[in-house]
Amino acid sequence: MPKLQSVAELEKYRAEILAQRDPAKPCIAVCAGAACDGMDSAAVAAAFVTEAGKLGGKIEVRTTGCHGYCEKGPNVVVTPGDICYFEVQPADVPEILAATLKGEVVERLVYKDPNTGAKAVHMHEVPFYKHQTRLLIGDNPKIDPMRIDDYLAVGGYAALVKALTEMKPDQVLDEVKKANLRGRGGGGFPAGSKWETTKNAPEKTKYVIVNGHEGESAAFMDRAMLTGNPHKILEGLIIGAYAIGAQKGFMYTRHDMPLLEKHVRNALAQAKEYGLLGQNILGSGFDFECELHFDVGIFVSGESSALMRSIEGNPPEPRPKYIRTSVSGIWDKPSNLNNVETWANVPQIITKGAEWFTSIGSEKSKGTKLISLSGNVVNSGIVEVPMGTPLRTLVFDIGGGVRDGKTLKAIHFGGAMGGSIPADLIDAPLDFDGMSKLGAPIGAGGLLLMDEDTDMVEIARYLLDFLVNESCGKCAPCREGMPQMLHILTNMTQGKGKPGDLERLEDLAEVTGAASLCALGKTSPDPLKSMFRYFKPEYEARIPGGSGDK
């Protein structure tokens, strides 16, 4: 592939790709996402390739990233028509191919409502998908992540073209600011103002970074995006670099996902080959390089200053500076860090405009949010809904409610640094500020459902047990406070609660939250604080003499 020298060459090339593709030709998309892969979707994909090969190219087969409905993998989607087949086995392959050739549907493999038995054939009829707005993850079934041409075929890099040809960097920045895009990595910080800080910082050398560490337990949408559609994130990053005036970018991601690594490496190489990275991108005069970096497998390396130290080649220890990384980050240069999902939103904001983007979502949280559904939920998977969607829709309409006919007790957001709210708050809208006020900030978007049998003391213990191993140990409140809280909670779950334990826990939670150096320590007592707010009687019951605190 010769390097594309101009926007015109890119558009010509895109037209060629589309001309070669017949939308009426059946295509089978086999999910190779992490969950489906765990159910040996590779064998299903291999069977499709072998069997379809015998049909002389009448049916195309594509392996893709996560479709979303991980619960029912291995997932297969047939186009045209977006016919969804679930729990597909290699033995089902000939039947699916035969039906597809005839324009028919294999009824026994489509969705069946567990209560009514009603069937749903097409994606937009399947309850799990029906209530979603899949702006970001919706392309996954259409894309083989190893093929940049698939991304171009769905309009990929059109936003970059628009930014480079029709917009000045300031206009791009303005659009992102107007869109009120807020960071998806946990804090909900406005991306536009962060970009502006880095842009306005005096140093000429600036960096932009993708945070793909995704350390939050029960969150798995960033890896689904990076593995399933790496170019979308890269496109967002290049546009951001153009707006900010950065010459170099980093993708910082997990070291323990070979498929993710393969896809991202390949995407960077292809983008370079096509002239979408490197010198004079598409003849615009804008230069930008991007490097891939891996975490060292500890949670705190997702924290901004620790991540940047890690990119510098140092141990990922948070920096105790009262200066923002957007002003002084990697090698003390202004460095703008955003989460995978934040970057993934950028291309559509540029293509469709801030006005369109702000028409989706709640008053202060715009756009959609990717949510990982897990725990005692019927349908686990990756879900995308507009901000402001009531939790009830997520839990019941999409998630199918609680497993095994049990009752919902609590909803937990944000992993070990998040919080739990009781089931009676189920009508609360999914919103950065609203959920924070309730004590269960969305965090990165891991939603854990807990049924009536859940022991809330054990949940707090479990979450702390995870986090305690992630403390870097630099500052006293986190290093000392967490193990002490864990010790008390462990005793309580073992029936060894002592008078004074609750008071000790409250003091430890308060001090760890107020005095820790970085956000890991600061937020480590958050689950416990939410427990004290909503489930205190369960804690009191673990102390001899009932509420005999003191």
């Binding site: 500052c475 290093r479 000392e480 308060e510 150096l517």
Partner: protein, 223 residues
């Protein structure tokens, strides 16, 4: 450099821009407790005892004074109910490791800390990092370093280096708030290089066998 006026405990203080709140307080003769701070070392921000309350444009926040730079018109309170509570609990947490460390005992008295409040783990080290950072930043020897993370974090002398340099230096022993630095050195010596310490000057005068009495320097009182 421009001067900055701020208020610390109702006292108006004028200092150069770039000064930390801790330095400003010290210049004004106001005491803030510290454990990991040392004027020759880069600020670390580990012990968090120097935490203070800062009011700026109506917002109150809690910051560690050894790192926080002064700013125009901020109001600093070196003690408040919350600040005292934080220090009390921090001292209680550290006393689980070193219940008799003189500095902690002193602080416990001031803040009403109960040395028996939390589960004991007598490791004697409070991970202030003074020994590690002093050896690195001042001596450039790196004979002692941190190993492990989180609650498992501890200091460790590196035998290959310590063998040749520590006995002659011993400067970090005196900095240590708990005497653990010295103990850890001796333990390393006993395990990794018994009788092989290099002590050029003294070795010439004193036979190795009589070197058992260790010259302990007084614990440096931090201000």
């Amino acid at each position: 450099m421009s001067e900055i006026v701020l208020k610390i405990d109702d006292k108006e203080v004028k200092v150069a821009a770039g000064t930390t709140v801790l330095q400003a307080a010290q210049q004004a003769g106001i005491y803030i407790p510290t454990l990991c701070h040392h004027e020759k070392l880069e600020a670390f921000g580990g012990c968090r005892l120097c935490i203070v309350e800062v009011e700026s444009r109506g917002w109150t926040s809690y910051v560690v004074s050894c790192l926080y730079p002064v700013a125009k018109d901020i109001i600093v309170r070196t003690r408040s109910e919350k600040v005292d509570k934080i220090r009390k609990v921090l001292v209680e947490e550290l006393m689980a490791h070193a219940p008799d460390a003189p500095e902690l005992v002193k602080l416990a008295e001031v803040y009403g800390a109960d040395r028996n409040r939390f589960e004991r783990k007598e490791s004697f080290c409070v991970v202030c990092g003074l020994c590690v950072r002093y050896c690195d930043e001042v001596k450039h020897l790196n004979a002692v370093g941190f190993i492990d993370n989180g609650a498992e974090r501890e200091i460790s002398f590196i035998p290959e280096v310590a063998k040749d340099v520590c006995w002659e230096c011993q400067e970090c022993f005196a900095l240590c708030p708990t005497s653990y630095a010295q103990a850890a050195y001796l333990l390393t010596e006993a395990l990794a290089f018994p009788g092989q310490r290099k002590a050029a000057v003294r070795a010439a005068k004193v036979p190795v066998a009589t070197q058992r009495i260790i010259p302990i320097k007084p614990v440096a009182a931090t201000t």
